[in-house]
């Protein structure tokens, strides 16, 4: 039997954590993981944040990020244990035999150097190619990855190409030294779906053409199903299940894997519009100060009481700007906003307390939306004091009531945000918004930073609260699966304009406009061969035109 390219045995990884108000202590974050990877094969590592998947990926390069340390086990690459080799040999391993593609190419490229220099650096340093050959190979890779103007794109600086292009350049960087193994760490997670599909296809083709082996790390099972031969499911630093991609997707054995596969199974019956909308956005046009183009162009939408309007769009489509206009943070240059049958003044300082109370907001990053030095009780209690003048025992009781409503229960009042998990933090933010007894809550990408299962929990909670409190949601998201799960009506935004708007059943049913079609068909589906199907379909369509 031949030796596998990568052999991991009993890998244990530790880190030092600094809990607030306590002494730093060492914890174990990966508890003995074993796996093999043969040359030319792709293994998907899947799990939620904190599952240790990136940490395991970097361990294949004998690297620990930040305070992370490999504390036990063996990592064999090409027949030698890299944890026991000298640092000089480790340096030859990194960038030579094993290379890395990170989540954010924008941050991983040095802004002060040309792309070509960075792409070829490792190959030249490791003595694999001369400068001339490395550059020729880079151009070949640029071409293979579908980058525009492959001959010259290397002469640009990172800020001069788009995010999706830079992610492809990062892949070229990893493939340039002809490594045996590439660690892809969430390479498409930061991209818009319509960009993701192209980058994913480019990566898949490059893996196949170069015959390189890969560790493909992601939290998105639908994505990994498109590229990997085997999948390993991780949960909190331990392996849950390992199998072929086909088996994991179509026949998951473990309960946790089954939950991951069947995530986003929320069913929500669409409600019919009423006669009297709660929020009417009419002819809103807006631009930021000091710029000369409109970020919102004649936007018209309505939201009915007790319902959810989803605003869908990719980055830069203007969806968050619309939220800023409705809240009064950015006065529009034209148009009116009618809320509860009264016209809202365009800018925040002129709105009265009642306007402020009835219109609350929840943000994407629960972390930064809370004061880290305040307890959960103080955070939720503040709107109670501010809007209802509640004090003492009455306030305490109401806080507890709200905590029960968001399913957190006893013992949370005195905790600090740093002691909560991501999902718990977002729940506290929801409670804070609810405390004001609003009629409308603007939810700006509230589940985007959360793991799928946690996000599911939040969506279920929001739907439950809507039933109890009869509150309306303006739900801003780039994630179509979320939209399907909770919306009553949908507005699709593209470059500042609403391109499609109506009840969910209409918006998501054909015939589609071009953009909505592109958007919908780009959302990865949890089945094998989906990527090829979509690409084939698109090829035929463009040939037909």
């Amino acid at each position: 039997m031949t030796e596998p390219l990568l052999k991991v045995r009993g890998l244990k990884i530790g880190a030092t954590i600094y809990p607030p108000g306590e002494r730093p202590r060492d914890i174990e974050i990966v508890h003995g993981v074993d796996f093999d990877l043969d040359g030319g094969k792709v293994l998907g590592l899947i799990g939620e944040s904190g599952a240790g998947k990136s940490t395991i990926g970097l361990a294949a390069m004998a690297y620990g990020r930040g305070g992370v340390e490999i504390i036990g086990g063996e990592v064999w690459v090409n027949g030698r244990d890299v944890l026991k080799t000298r640092i000089g040999d480790v340096r030859r391993l990194r960038g030579g035999e094993v290379t890395y593609v990170s989540q954010s190419a924008a941050a991983s490229f040095n802004p002060a150097k040309k792309i070509m220099e960075q792409v070829t650096e490792a190959a030249i340093l490791q003595g694999k190619f001369s400068k001339k050959d490395a550059e020729a190979r880079a151009i070949e890779l640029f071409r293979k990855l579908g980058l525009p103007d492959p001959e010259n794109i290397g002469n640009r600086y990172p800020h001069q190409v788009s995010g999706g292009q830079l992610q492809r350049c990062m892949t070229a960087l990893a493939l340039c030294p002809e490594p045996d193994l590439v660690v892809f760490d969430e390479p498409t997670t930061a991209l818009d779906v319509t960009t993701q599909i192209d980058v994913l296809a480019a990566i898949k083709e490059a893996i196949r053409d170069t015959g390189v082996a890969a560790l493909y790390i992601t939290h998105d099972l639908a994505v990994v199903a498109q590229v990997s031969d085997h999948i390993m499911v991780l949960q909190q630093g331990s392996m849950v299940e390992y199998g072929t991609t086909d088996q994991i997707i179509n026949n998951p054995q473990e309960e946790y894997t089954q939950a991951l596969v069947s995530v986003r199974s929320i069913k929500h019956e669409e409600k019919k519009p009423t006669d009297n909308p709660l929020l009417k956005v009419e002819h809103i046009t807006a631009r930021y100060r000091g710029t000369d183009f409109d970020v919102l162009k004649d936007v018209n939408v309505e939201l009915h009481p007790g319902q959810t309007l989803a605003i869908v769009g990719e980055s830069g489509s203007g969806k968050s700007t619309l939220a800023r206009v409705i809240t009064g943070l950015l006065p529009p240059s034209d148009g009116t906003i009618t809320f509860d049958s009264r016209t809202l003044t365009p800018d925040l300082p002129t709105r009265n307390l009642e306007d402020l109370r009835e219109l609350q907001m929840i943000y994407q990053m629960a972390d930064t939306a809370m004061n880290p030095r305040q307890t959960v009780g103080t955070i939720i209690g503040r709107p109670l004091e501010f809007y209802f003048n509640l004090r003492g025992k009455a306030k305490q009781e109401r806080i507890q009531e709200l905590l029960d409503e968001i399913e957190l229960g006893d013992g949370f009042q005195d905790r600090y945000p740093a002691e909560l998990s991501g999902g718990q933090k977002q729940r506290v933010c929801i409670a804070r918004a609810l405390a004001a007894k609003p009629k409308l809550i603007i939810c700006d990408e509230v589940t985007s930073a959360l793991d799928p299962l946690v996000a599911d929990g939040i969506l279920k909670l929001l739907l439950k609260l809507q039933k109890i409190e009869d509150v309306s949601y303006l739900f801003i998201t780039h994630d179509l699966a979320t939209v399907k799960a909770i919306a009553d009506s949908i507005a699709v935004m593209y470059q500042g304009a609403v391109v499609r708007y109506g009840p969910k059943s209409q918006v998501l049913a054909p015939p589609f406009d071009d953009y909505t079609d592109l958007l919908l068909s780009s959302v990865p589906e949890m089945k094998l061969g989906w990527l090829e199907e979509v690409l084939e379909h698109r090829k035929m369509e463009s040939a037909g035109n």
């Binding site: 040095n110 150097k113 800020h159």
Partner: protein, 318 residues
């Protein structure tokens, strides 16, 4: 026009305006002093007639605005007027002083700037280990000790005990470069020790800040050595803050070396200025003030321009 040229032109224009404002301030400031030049030349016992005569002769009866412009005009054409105390042409005596000061500052900079940046890089490479701590401790100590104290200590050890260099730094045109360098060796050492800490610590802080970036991890995962990562990937992104503090220290080397000049009896600008301030020689003080302002503004202007040029987003717009 390339946007970067526009930015630089703006900076230069701003610098000139600032210098103009500084000249007004200097002129107005000296005007506010009690008594006038005629009074100071002739002394307390002067008769009103002779005062009036001299005032007319010096043009002091003109309104302040026109006097300001004739002063500024003279300055721009190289005519700084004559010193009251010895009647000598200011431009002439100032010229040799200024070149002496620049000579000293130049050699101090040539040694201190590369040394500070090198030590800063070294401190980053061995962060929190003994080389870092040693570098920090030594440079902080030298910046904390008053410069005249360092001067005297160095004179004692190097000049007197070891007998290597001269303790007085008098130079003149007849000396060869080697002789001059020998003469200023100890003052250069003192100045280096004084300015080293600032620049070294800013280099260390700026690079450490950059070392947190994801692209440093990328470089590590390419298998690069720490020192070449710092040199190739971190340093180019830390230039702007480093240049700023370097320029401030260069300005100090030109403008703030009075004490060192006095300690070593060095014939530079500082000593010249102090001499004439104590004698209330207003034209000299004005001339020195404007030259110092020009040095400060000029060096900071260079720092700004280097910062602009160091930013790839400005250098290569989309």
């Amino acid at each position: 026009m390339h946007p970067i040229l526009k930015l630089i032109a703006q900076r230069v224009a701003l610098g000139i305006m600032l210098l103009f404002a500084a000249s007004i301030l200097i002129f107005a400031g000296t005007m506010m002093l009690p008594g006038d030049v005629a009074q100071q030349i002739l002394g307390q016992s002067a008769t009103p007639e002779s005062l009036a005569n001299l005032r007319r002769e010096l043009g002091l009866n003109e309104p302040p605005v026109s006097r300001y412009f004739s002063w500024l005009g003279g300055f721009l054409t190289g005519d700084l007027g004559t010193a009251l105390t010895n009647g000598r042409d200011i431009a002439e005596s100032l010229g040799s002083r200024l070149s002496n000061t620049l000579f000293l500052a130049f050699w101090a900079a040539v040694i201190s700037v590369p040394l500070a940046i090198f030590l800063g890089l070294l401190a980053v490479r061995y962060k929190d280990r003994w080389p870092d701590k040693l570098i920090s401790a030594v440079t902080l100590t030298t910046i904390s000790i008053p410069e005249f104290m360092i001067g005297y200590v160095l004179i004692y050890w190097i000049s007197i005990q070891l007998g290597w260099f001269s303790s007085v730094a008098i130079i003149n045109d007849g000396m060869s470069l080697w002789q001059k360098l020998n003469a200023i060796a100890i003052p250069v050492m003192v100045l280096t020790l004084v300015v080293l800490a600032h620049m070294m610590r800013m280099t260390r802080a700026a690079i450490l800040n950059v070392m947190q970036s994801a692209y440093i991890e990328t470089a590590e995962l390419k298998g690069m050595r720490m020192l070449s990562i710092i040199r190739k990937h971190a340093f180019p992104n830390a230039i702007a803050p480093i240049v700023n503090v370097v320029m401030l220290n260069l300005a100090y080397l030109v403008v703030g070396v009075v004490v060192v000049e006095v300690v070593f009896a060095y014939p530079g600008m500082g000593q010249y200025l102090v001499d004439h301030v104590s004698k209330r020689d207003v034209p000299v003080v004005q001339a020195c003030g404007l030259i110092f302002a020009a040095v400060y503004i000029g060096l900071n202007l260079i720092a700004d321009i280097v910062s602009i040029l160091a930013n790839p987003r400005l250098r290569h717009p989309k």
